[in-house]
């Protein structure tokens, strides 16, 4: 069958997609759900999240404190109505997956334990040792197996949304095992495809995180919001980019430069207490820590290695027992991939691309401006993350907004008519002929891997931790030419069954489009805020840029850039204060 009729198509089966699917299946078992993913659900990148998920649980904590940490962490670019709602839902969703069996680490009374994370007043990160995302993903996936209304389409690569009459009516997808192009005729579609860290060369993100869903929505006319904000995580392993969780610092890990000096005290994060205090030193926010690394590097105080400069994360004082209980996975990773045992030696680390704050423009209820289309998780931008996401908010975000997308779909679908199957068929045939063109193209010498390398390089050199008009102009120009050259890209593999050459080509197309939105959004934001730091505009400029960037797709041309005001309810923009001075 080329056309698959369904009520709801969910693209992506990580934490957000599965949460949405379960929410719908629980509420209305008569609705047919097609859960479409380019990988088996348990391969989704949620599994790589380590440190934990934020939700208020301690008596000394409060929703207001979680709100404040999130909004100031995001440098006031968050929509505060959404953040208020998010922090309220957070503990409920974390408790829900506990009831579904998530093996959370426990305190002495048998309650779920919490640990401190960067930028938090009070510790509120729920964790399952240092494999929190893995356990959340498997709990969700296994729980989803009891709902017959969830029909999985594993290893289907979604290519394009089907849009007509001002509404989304489905999606086309390649069944990878046969190479056949299928079309899902759906009343509602939820995109939950994760981020796009792979547009950069050095990232914690898995190979699958290529921004497909973002690009699909973008091509369908939905703006990509705040794409200039890309988070560097301060502690990745050199060479591989493997993440050393923020939990390392939450448990007491220290960052020192080549002189053994806790340099963060020079960047407004002190005083250097012997043990990190909340919101100070090593428990500062990710953007500021990554930027501090860059400054240390400029001063020549980092350590040179064959895989670039590093600083040291020292956890020796934590002792083997605590490390084995709370951080066994990262201990093994550092030992295997670097030959460094954190029990006995400091671990070399450096900033690494980790998270895309920006994404598909959605509101508090996970709705996009396109009727019938919803989005949740890293691919979406609500925005609760503003210009810099608070560590451990993202897993919670997937659960909260995944469920919200499910609820919104149920509200909307009752009055939604069936998708127009004739139109869906037409769209499928059009996509099919585009794919055929790609197959038939004469060899021009442009290869997927070659273009991908060039894209990675220009994003790192022009749109990294620190950017400038000059560097961004160059990146914008390079990406424009890469988009042009992509039209000449040729496939070496002309077969149908699991043609990963084809899939990688389509992923590259998505990545170049997303990269273009990132570079142009960054080029136009003449200020420094959160993760977007400009060498030529070093201050935050609330007068001109306390607003969301909206990048609109304009075919082969560069994107249009518009702006929308940030929603402020109770926290007026102020200076971000970290360190012990005022907290």
């Amino acid at each position: 069958m080329e056309i698959i009729k369904t009520d709801i198509a969910i693209i992506g089966a990580g934490a957000a997609g599965l949460s949405a699917a379960i929410a719908i299946a629980e509420t209305d078992p008569t609705l047919n759900i097609s859960l479409i993913s380019k990988v088996y659900p348990m391969r989704s990148h949620t599994c790589a999240a380590e440190g934990g998920a934020a939700g208020v649980s301690k008596p000394e904590d409060s929703l207001d404190k979680h709100f404040d940490d999130t909004v100031s962490g995001g440098d006031w670019l968050c929509d505060q109505d959404a953040v208020e709602w998010f922090v309220e839902q957070a503990p409920k969703e974390l408790a829900r997956i506990e009831r579904w069996g998530c093996p959370w680490s426990r305190d002495e009374e048998g309650n779920v334990a919490v640990r401190p994370f960067g930028g938090m007043k009070v510790e509120r990160t729920w964790y399952a040792a240092d494999k929190t995302g893995f356990h959340i993903l498997h709990t969700l996936f296994q729980t989803s197996l009891q709902y017959p209304s969830i029909q999985r389409f594993d290893e289907y690569y979604s290519t394009d949304l089907i849009v007509s009459d001002g509404r989304c009516q489905g999606v086309t997808a390649i069944e990878m095992r046969s190479g056949q192009l299928k079309a899902f005729a759906a009343k509602c579609v939820i995109i939950a495809t994760g981020g796009a860290g792979r547009v950069f060369p050095f990232t914690t993100n898995g190979a699958i995180k290529t921004g497909d869903g973002m690009a699909m929505a973008y091509r369908a006319g939905v703006p990509l919001k705040d794409m200039e904000f890309v988070q560097y995580h301060p502690t990745g392993l050199p060479g591989t980019g493997i993440l050393m969780t923020e939990g390392c610092r939450g448990e007491g890990g220290l960052l020192v430069n080549k002189d053994g000096y806790r340099y963060l005290q020079d960047y407004g994060l002190g005083p250097p207490d012997p043990w990190p205090r909340n919101k100070a030193m090593e428990l500062g926010p990710r953007d500021i820590l990554s930027q501090a690394f860059w400054h240390e590097q400029q001063k020549g105080r980092t350590i040179k290695t064959p895989h670039g400069d590093v600083i040291h994360m020292d956890m020796r004082h934590l002792g083997e027992v605590l490390i084995n209980e709370r951080l066994p996975f990262v201990r093994d990773l550092a030992l295997s991939y670097l030959g460094i045992d954190m029990v006995h030696e400091p671990v070399p680390v450096r900033p690494v691309i980790h998270y895309t704050m920006g994404g598909i423009d959605t509101d508090r209820q996970a709705r996009t401006p396109l009727d019938g289309l919803f989005a949740a998780g890293e691919c979406a931008c609500v925005s609760i993350n503003g210009s810099n996401r608070l560590g451990s908010n993202s897993l919670t975000e997937c659960l909260v907004f995944g469920r919200e997308a499910g609820k919104s779909v149920i509200d909307r679908i009752t009055t939604m008519s069936d998708a127009d199957t004739t139109l869906v068929k037409q769209q499928r045939d059009k996509s099919q002929s585009e794919m055929a063109d790609l197959f038939m193209r004469e060899n021009t010498g442009e290869s997927v891997s070659g273009l991908r390398r060039e894209m990675n390089d220009t994003m790192e050199s022009g749109a990294g931790i620190y950017r400038s008009a000059d560097s961004l102009n160059e990146t914008c120009a390079t990406i424009a030419s890469l988009r042009e050259r992509f039209n000449a890209v040729t496939l070496e593999d002309k077969s149908n069954v699991f043609n990963t050459d084809l899939i990688q080509a389509l992923e590259l197309k998505s990545m170049i489009e997303v990269a273009q939105a990132m570079a142009h959004s960054a080029r136009r934001r003449d200020e420094s805020r959160g993760s977007h730091q400009r060498l030529d505009f070093t201050e935050r400029d609330d007068d001109n840029f306390l607003k969301h960037t909206l990048a609109g797709y304009r075919g082969a041309d560069a994107p249009s850039i518009d702006y929308r005001a940030v929603v402020i309810t109770k926290s007026q923009p102020a200076k971000r204060v970290y360190g012990g001075a005022k907290s």
Binding site: C47, G101, Q146, Y337, S495, F498
Partner: protein, 260 residues
């Protein structure tokens, strides 16, 4: 960063042009700190774009890249060249149909995973307004090792019973059933017994133990299966000696949960 020339002999199967798999050799300039997956990616990017395999996280947690490397099933992202000779043979996982090159068909496993009801089945679920269950660290420790499975399929690749007996539920799925059976929040063992304690479940296992030897996450499925056998046997005799004495859920918690 020293370079090392490695010969990778990869089993290829292109179902549109071949009726059976053949080995193809690639000579790859490798960095000493690379893993086999890095070498495969080098081939894909520089030598042969038609080679197909699964991978994603490159940090041994997504479970995509399980394959047989010099006769041992392992994660290619954690198969370090420093531990391997200059000539490396890479094959798809055994005991699964090969769909293409290093990609095998997982449908059978996905069905079996579902069949063991791998989700919490509580007698008295905690209500939403009451928050969470209580669970001590000691109770957590008893099932946690069995919750670490990444579904990489190394255990199925090395299990002769799975290869020889079509119906066998297999190590990972049975270990997962055990994971829920010994979770203090779960009372679903009876509900899982139809599949788990059947002739194609735990009783098909002859304790070869290879599954536990190759597991990259130390899940120890062999242990899980033997423990389930004991619990199931205790259940059987309890039923026989004291018919009607079992609680509704059928759980003999002393045997399953507390071990000692």
């Amino acid at each position: 960063m020293s370079e090392r020339q490695i010969t990778l002999e990869v089993l290829r199967y292109r179902p549109e042009s071949e009726s059976e798999p053949v080995f193809q050799s690639y000579s790859v300039p490798c960095q000493e700190e690379w893993v086999v997956l890095d070498a495969l990616n080098y081939i894909k990017d520089n030598l042969d774009r038609t080679l197909s395999y699964r991978w994603s996280c490159h940090m041994a947690v997504c479970g995509s890249c399980g394959m047989v490397i010099n006769d041992n099933p392992m994660l290619s992202c954690k198969a370090f060249l420093r531990d391997l000779p200059d000539h490396i043979r890479v094959e798809p996982l055994h005991n699964f149909p090969i769909e293409r090159d290093l990609m095998v068909e997982l449908d059978d496993f996905m069905d079996k995973l579902k069949s063991v009801k791998p989700y919490l089945i509580p007698d008295q679920p905690v209500a939403e307004e009451d928050g969470t269950y209580r669970q001590s660290s000691a109770q957590l420790k008893k099932y946690k090792p069995f919750a670490m499975c990444i579904n990489c399929m190394a255990c199925y690749s090395v299990c002769p019973q799975y290869g020889l007996n079509e119906g066998f539920v297999g190590p990972a799925a049975l270990a997962l059933a055990h994971r829920y059976n010994v979770d203090s929040r779960d009372q679903g063992r009876r509900a899982r017994e139809d599949v788990v304690a059947s002739n194609t479940g735990i009783w098909e296992c002859t304790f070869v133990g290879a599954c536990s030897e190759v597991c990259p996450k130390n899940v120890d499925p062999a242990a899980a299966i033997q423990q389930t056998k004991i619990a199931s046997t205790v259940d059987y005799f309890k039923d026989l000696l004291m018919p009607g004495k079992r609680d509704k859920s059928g759980n003999a918690k002393q045997a399953a949960g507390d071990g000692a």
